[in-house]
């Protein structure tokens, strides 16, 4: 009984979260330029997407978004984990200060972060483009990784690491075999969080994107929305991305579950 209640609670939350996405998917099957108008069922937007030449810069924007997201998420995951370990080992007073410093990028409005990074890069003379965007994304994603990993550290049993050292492991070995596995869930969730933030970010990207024609999905969409209304082809694009990731997720889960079952059998 309790389980049914619990599951339906989660279910209803998920329905609320996915209702707008469902709308996007439904309206990707119509040609209307405005989201919300229905002019009859049609697959034209999907075919437009796959025809090259209709929106050739859209695919490069998508590609850029993915690369920037993956790189910044990965680097911030490393940096954030290291930082979390470091913070954990500080004395309480220093720890509080560093924690506050860590939280500043989260607390700051993103437009302030954007402009300050922009001015920073200008004054350093770094020509803006891929590098600056990635650096900027790393700098605002890392605090989120720290916030994901740090609670894990607090909950972890300190003695495990010392026990490993006592048993003769080198610090690096202990790090790899004891500490990181403990932290891995936090690191992975930090990675996913950082990736999510990076691909959706707009203002920071806008100001660090330089003048070489670099575009990410966000800047492309916003620029489009201003002049001509949101490109209708974005609806099938979002639908496709979404369904692909969902399918990937389910497949990975299925295979992992299968592998576990096999392991259990042996």
């Amino acid at each position: 009984m309790k389980k049914i209640l619990a599951n339906s609670y989660i279910g209803s939350l998920l329905i609320m979260l996915y209702a707008p996405i469902l709308i996007i998917i439904i309206f990707s099957f119509t040609e209307a330029k405005v989201l919300g108008n229905w002019t009859g069922f049609s697959l034209k937007l999907y075919t437009n997407l796959f025809q090259s030449g209709v929106h050739h810069s859209l695919s490069s924007a998508l590609w850029n978004t993915l690369i920037i997201g993956l790189i910044s998420a990965f680097v911030s995951m490393l940096l954030g984990t290291v930082a979390a370990i470091g913070i954990y080992n500080l004395k309480p007073r220093a720890r509080k200060i560093v924690q506050f410093a860590n939280n500043i990028p989260i607390l700051n409005p993103d437009i302030i972060t954007a402009i300050s990074l922009f001015l920073l890069f200008v004054s350093l003379g770094i020509s803006q483009g891929y590098t600056t965007v990635i650096l900027a994304h790393i700098s605002f994603c890392t605090p989120y990784v720290v916030l994901s990993v740090y609670p894990r550290l607090r909950m972890m049993n300190e003695n495990l690491y010392e026990a490993a050292l006592d048993l003769g492991a080198t610090p690096f070995y202990a790090l790899r075999k004891v500490l990181l596995p403990e932290l891995r869930p936090g690191m992975i969730s930090g990675f996913i969080l950082a990736f999510t933030l990076s691909i959706d970010d707009f203002v920071v990207t806008l100001f660090t994107i330089g003048n070489e024609g670099l575009e990410t999905l966000s800047t492309y969409i916003y620029a489009d929305a201003r002049k001509g209304g949101l490109t209708p082809e974005l609806r099938p694009l979002s639908a496709i991305i979404f369904i692909t990731v969902l399918a990937l997720l389910l497949v990975i889960n299925h295979r992992a579950a299968k592998r576990e079952q096999e392991n259990q059998k042996h």
Partner: protein
């Protein structure tokens, strides 16, 4: 200093700031109320299902923010609900709920099961187990969650702009207007004020929470 004085003298900016804090508080509370049970239920599930479910919470955020928000507008149109305060809170919670669920889930999941068992063995009722053991242990996660929701809500302007057709003005809008229209110094001063005030509160809060985690849980 002139910029700070300007802020002080402009009741409108002050009111917007206070209003945004209010919106942020309400949003954070709603996210907490909705998110904590969700995280709790998820932490009780099997690891495999739980992982997928948590990712399902994050997945909507991978659809671009603008499209998502426009779809929310379309949703409200479809349900014939007029845009306004209700849609604002829906939009805010919609965008920030995953940020609340994630940290709480993480810290709940890491809770040492033996502590819970110990509490139960010592004769605590399920309610006591929850209030005295599980809840305090999850406080770091709650603290993270609140931090990731409260401040960004104050500085988001796009949600207010799109979901209330700019009727409701949040502090983020003020900030954006000033910076974009050339009043950089004033905008910077505004954000500094915000940072100081909220930073102070979060510092105090974090200290309180850290103490709670140490005392409430492991003694």
């Amino acid at each position: 200093m002139a910029n700070f004085q300007k802020f002080w003298n402009q009741p409108e900016a002050m009111h917007t700031f206070i209003f945004s804090i209010g919106v942020a508080i309400i949003t954070t509370v709603i996210c907490l109320v909705l998110g904590y049970p969700a995280a709790y239920i998820l932490s009780r599930m099997e690891a495999k299902t739980a992982k997928i479910m948590v990712l399902l919470f994050i997945l909507p955020m991978w659809v671009n923010f603008l499209i998502r928000t426009l779809a929310t507008v379309a949703l409200f149109d479809f349900l014939r609900i007029p845009l306004g305060q209700g849609s604002l809170y829906f939009g805010m919670v919609y965008n920030f709920l995953p940020f609340m669920v994630y940290p709480i889930y993480n810290s709940l999941q890491k809770t040492d099961k033996s502590l819970i068992e110990a509490a139960q063995d010592l004769g605590a009722t399920p309610r006591q187990v929850f209030l005295k053991t599980i809840l305090p242990l999850s406080v770091p996660g709650i603290a993270s969650g609140i931090m990731m929701v409260f401040m960004p809500v104050i500085s988001t302007f796009a949600i207010a702009e799109l979901l209330t057709i700019n009727n409701i003005k949040l502090f983020g809008t003020t900030l954006q207007e000033n910076i974009y229209n050339g009043m950089w110094n004033y905008g910077a001063a505004l954000s500094l004020i915000m940072l100081i005030l909220i930073g102070l509160t979060s510092l105090l809060n974090a200290e309180g929470n850290a103490k709670a985690a140490e005392e409430g849980g492991l003694l």
